[in-house]
Symmetry: D3
Subunit: 290 residues, 6 copies
């Protein structure tokens, strides 16, 4: 999930504009034009790097060259350099905050995602970790990319990407069957149909109606277990993908994963991710010969 450089550039310019307003008056006043520096963005804690591509483009926008950088998705230890740049002192100081804000958020999301993915892999399980649409407004693209970088599945990027019949749809329509039938007959053949269910019985009903994915929403592990059993008993388990969602935490995730759903989705990856700690340090200063 990646837009071309020219599009990414435009979006990053908007972020820069937001932070700069009429100008970085401090830097203009006290840093002479023509001073060149090298600087490093350094990890202050263990993290999975994300946003390196984005910040590289951001630096290029203001004429700063990225000399070396960690790969997006790589694990970085405290004290390690995530990005090293060289260019006009003024430009580096002006983009510093925007660059760090992007990296801190994206790496924070990727780090949280990776931790859960690893937990599941280390338990010998194959369940996917997925994001939700609970992203920061305006940051859907960046938040989802960070989840992918951490090893997660982005899930729907926007409402047009798949049919997902949620509890409130059913609350209004009053009927799972009607909803699924309508969706199956009228939706584009290119889209999957997912249904959110609240009971094991509804899960079976949705599977019988031909849903491609069933979301077991806000169920205790025991309920998920019942649903899985019922589906197997009816010979439907392999016909659908099972997504478990709601109330899942880093603490209880293995209880769910051991029941072997296909996917576990978690809103907090994007709506409450803790930013990782990074800082930009000036390494060398020299006047530009030009």
């Amino acid at each position: 999930m990646r837009v071309p450089y020219a599009l990414l550039r435009e979006r990053l310019i908007r972020f820069l504009e937001e932070d700069i307003g009429f100008g970085d008056v401090t830097t203009e006043l006290i840093i002479p034009d023509g001073v060149e520096v090298t600087a490093q963005i350094v990890a202050k804690e263990p993290m999975v790097a994300a946003g390196v591509l984005e910040v590289t483009v951001l630096f290029e926008i203001v004429g700063v060259k990225v000399i070396r950088s960690a790969d997006d998705g790589s694990e970085v230890s405290p004290g390690e350099v995530v990005i090293e740049v060289r260019g006009p002192a003024r430009a580096i100081l002006t983009v510093e905050r925007t660059a760090l804000n992007i990296l801190m958020r994206m790496s924070g999301i990727a780090t949280a995602t990776r931790r859960l993915v690893n937990k599941i892999r280390e338990a010998g399980l194959g369940t996917r970790i997925a994001a939700t649409r609970k992203t920061a407004p305006g940051l859907r693209y960046f938040d989802k990319r960070a989840v992918i970088t951490g090893g997660g599945d982005p899930h729907r990027s926007s409402l047009d990407e798949a049919i997902l019949i949620k509890d409130n749809h059913i609350a209004i329509l009053g009927d799972v069957e009607k909803a699924v039938k309508k969706a199956r007959s009228a939706a584009s053949f290119t889209k999957k149909v997912e249904v959110e269910v609240r009971t094991p019985e509804e899960a079976v009903e949705a599977a019988k109606l031909g849903a491609d994915i069933i979301m077991l929403d806000n169920m205790a592990p025991s309920e998920v277990e019942s649903a899985m059993k019922l589906l197997r008993a009816e010979g439907l388990r392999d016909k659908v993908l099972i997504e478990v969602s709601g109330g899942i935490t880093e603490e209880n995730i293995l209880e769910y994963a051991r029941l072997k759903p296909d996917v576990i989705s978690l809103g907090f990856l994007t709506h409450s991710a803790r930013a990782v700690d990074l800082s930009l340090e000036i390494k060398t200063v020299e006047a530009d010969a030009s």
Copy 2:
């Protein structure tokens, strides 16, 4: 800090567009046109409401009427209604996620801010809690407003609002004195000059040079104490505002506040705020008579 309705409307339309793409295909397929519902956004945990104004405008954008709502800045208990709306079922379902994403983030930031403000007030202290520019890219306006709603000070909204000479400026320029003098003589008379210092001695130097605000950056409480003493000894304490920043947490904040700086600023209020839990519930469903 509030832009006119017409400007806010435009920004919220962008958030909506991001989530909708080519259309909310699920809702269009299964919810008939003409169904009217009432729905409530309900708190799932104690919180300070923020973003109510924004979400009210968002609902109005799609023709949904807000019937009642908590005031921005008010404290809301679990189970209480934050916003109750009435309007076309399709419109409510289509904006649901965007509305919740705004409210969850802004209320999360306001709630964290209020908790710290209260902690300081309850200790009988007057220090202000301030935000930083460590906001989510593109959300500066919304993040800062949430801090204000929580009772905090927004600090600079963008680089053009005040002079703030940071460690990296000094690292490049090599000299606090030169930096402050340049800033004082060349900056617009409408702007304050703030200087970030690393030692008590630099604090005194900056104050003597006429800085309006001194940021004691990444100092232990004992260092802050020394700086305050030195400033008082030199008769400079009342000539400057003291901002303490870096390494301050909910746990150690009172240790700093007891030293009576004017301001304590904290990045995590905006870069790592935990979203509060809210959900939208359909209360009544009826077909539109029209």
Copy 3:
């Protein structure tokens, strides 16, 4: 597939701006302010109306009221009124061309789509008619909506909506198997995987690899027939959706439809649709009393 009114309004304002430039100088010079008229947009040939919703919003943008209109998707005979409006003469004359351009194009696409859908239904067949991404640049949303209005399936709206492995992907990768396996393991679980194949054997291979949809591209009816037979022989026909594409015309479409693919997709519906003939006629003129 429908964006909220506020979003649609913005896009239509862009179309209007394109046509107006600095102003409709003719109308301003010769039509006095305050003249009110009623006008009708009348069909000059049989057509399926599409774009009525869009043009209604367009008229509202300039303060013109739509009094009555045909439903989008309804069949309209020559001489029938598609939209009747009442409002300031200046406003109606200024939007006339933009309104007609939208209606003529969208109704043209819907009319062509409906004709094919009817042909298939009248032959007692169930194959869906689908669009492609061969739309006019900038008009994806409008072209796809017109296809839906005509009774067709929009197919992917953009590259992010589904995995579609095309001939050029395979030409570069050199291998259907590798492509499908990669896509199946790495794509989001929310997306279907479609594969474009050139031979009946490749169709079987793709189905075995777990593709959700198989596109039989540029095949003669006899080749499509072989592919269908082979798939049935392998017990794979019900596991995949079959889309036929390439070289299909209004003349030969039944030859393909009789082979009972799930979908027939046609680029010309959107890239070469003939606009239908409509004109705006002034019915009554009166000076505004206000």
Copy 4:
């Protein structure tokens, strides 16, 4: 009629964004980074190339180099290369559809225009072929450029470019004389005044009133002939330009052209142009050494 590169670039980025959404997920998943290819866009039928400049810029936007290309306006035979490019496989696949959509539409319009221009030239006549404002919404610039490329006259690009008093203006005002007089006295001296007339008598009236151009609208060839005769009889023929419009087809155009109007304008050139058939073919594949 040509905007600078930087402006064209921006508009093409919007077309690309429309097609890509959150990313070309198929290509990202299955085509490795670093693969370089050469590809050719090849004509599948005889055509006049148009949009080559635009597509060249489009390829440059994503870092793909155009190696050779047909000139805009040149005639291309089936099997001939219109554009040959070299660059990252991913980039070429991602822009393929947008590039083809632009080329197919613009070349379609240019080809239809050229055919009519040639028809008239081959009959030894000098009448100009002109477009109208019946262009696809949002594509005025591109559609008009395609007409020019085909050898036609773009006519007004927007409502501000010239005064054109149409039938509906007169229907409302009730009087050709009043309209032309008002326009002549109040319009900027930089603009021509054109009047649409329905009878030979009105043509004479408009010419006497000082119209610069007279549009004979929806007249049969015999009526056009009468109008021309009347104008000549009154010594007015050389004082005005005569544009014939409405109901003209490829079949009957010579009947009109033989009457020697200055211009024949045709809406179908842009509102119903058949796209020409082009395809992008991968010629060589190699891994990038870098």
Copy 5:
């Protein structure tokens, strides 16, 4: 020359956004919500009102009602009310500066234009006063509208509206004849061809070549006189429009006008217009009962 309300609204929102940034912090802090006021924008000197329509829309954008206002183009005496408004105190204070900036500039341009138009009319002459493209960047539409409001001719609004062969075109091409011939044969038949000449002889040459308009550029009155005589002598005077431009001031304009050119164009009307003096005064204050 007037764009629809919806387009004007968008442009005015941009002006407002420029002045407000993150918010009108002063007003928010000290003026309570709910206070309603009436206010008047009052002329401080004699002026021709222009921008009244624009400022009316601006006030409506923020929910302020215009109660009465002078007509655009009317003459206003010192002390007279140009616009009286009623609405929320906050909104009025927040738009005050933007409203005044628009009115002061547009009325300044209209007032200067009217003064020259009157001077010419009072001398019993009919020459038109025209603007040039020497407008403030981004304000072409507003500056030209102000000229029209003052009674002037807007001339070309942008480079696409007419052919104007300037001295630099000829300097590069080296030849008036070649330039005019090329333009006449290749330009759209909808556009006039104007030629800028430096000598009476060139004026005659251009007229013979079929130019529609001849600009006598930077000529002394005696040279203009010679050119007019020569044209008359050749029987060409009535075949072309004569525009005089360059070096004309309020002082010498009648010397030129008496030579009876069709148009005199002046850059200073828009590039150096003195803003007129206006101020916004609060008339009544009351708390809102709601």
Copy 6:
């Protein structure tokens, strides 16, 4: 006060687009592609150059190279070259007007500012010359930069940059004391508080209440003198900055400056600056060998 190149570029492209519309049809028709020229923008009167940076970027946007140029802020004599460029003739002719419009306005503002700054310096005084928010709509950034280039202080760039309690705020609130107290307690600690006063007594009151800056508005020199004396008598002069504003002209400015306020601000610098006279001259013409 300077935005990064990428942001400036975007804004200049908007100015260019405004002037070009669908294309510079004259230049395209008569100047052959491939002609290269050198051209000079030459001063026609003494001026302070401003906008050179902006126009350099503008030329780069269309592929024209700036060979040499005067520094922004330098004094240029009549006949001197401000900018010399080399590049495609078509590009230079197409941007000519936009480039000149920017330079003429910005240099006009800088020249007027410098004249006042010099007048004060030559009288041996230190008062700063400041701009106001009375800028042309949409040109805040460019107008303020021109003032800075001329040696002036930009004052607030937008309403969010500082607290400025104006006469209308006080008129509504009814009380200076209440306004200043509210502002001082609630405004961000990063912002100065300025108060506009109408009498010497109010000046003292505002200073006592802790205002950072006091604006003496529309006072005669004698009143300013009284205010200064009263402030000194109360020992408050050094605690505040004094800004004098309203009714100050080039003629009377020294009367004010001799009273030693800190700042004199003048609206006419930006709302009524006379554009300086500049012209673009073609120096050499050659066909491009490429």
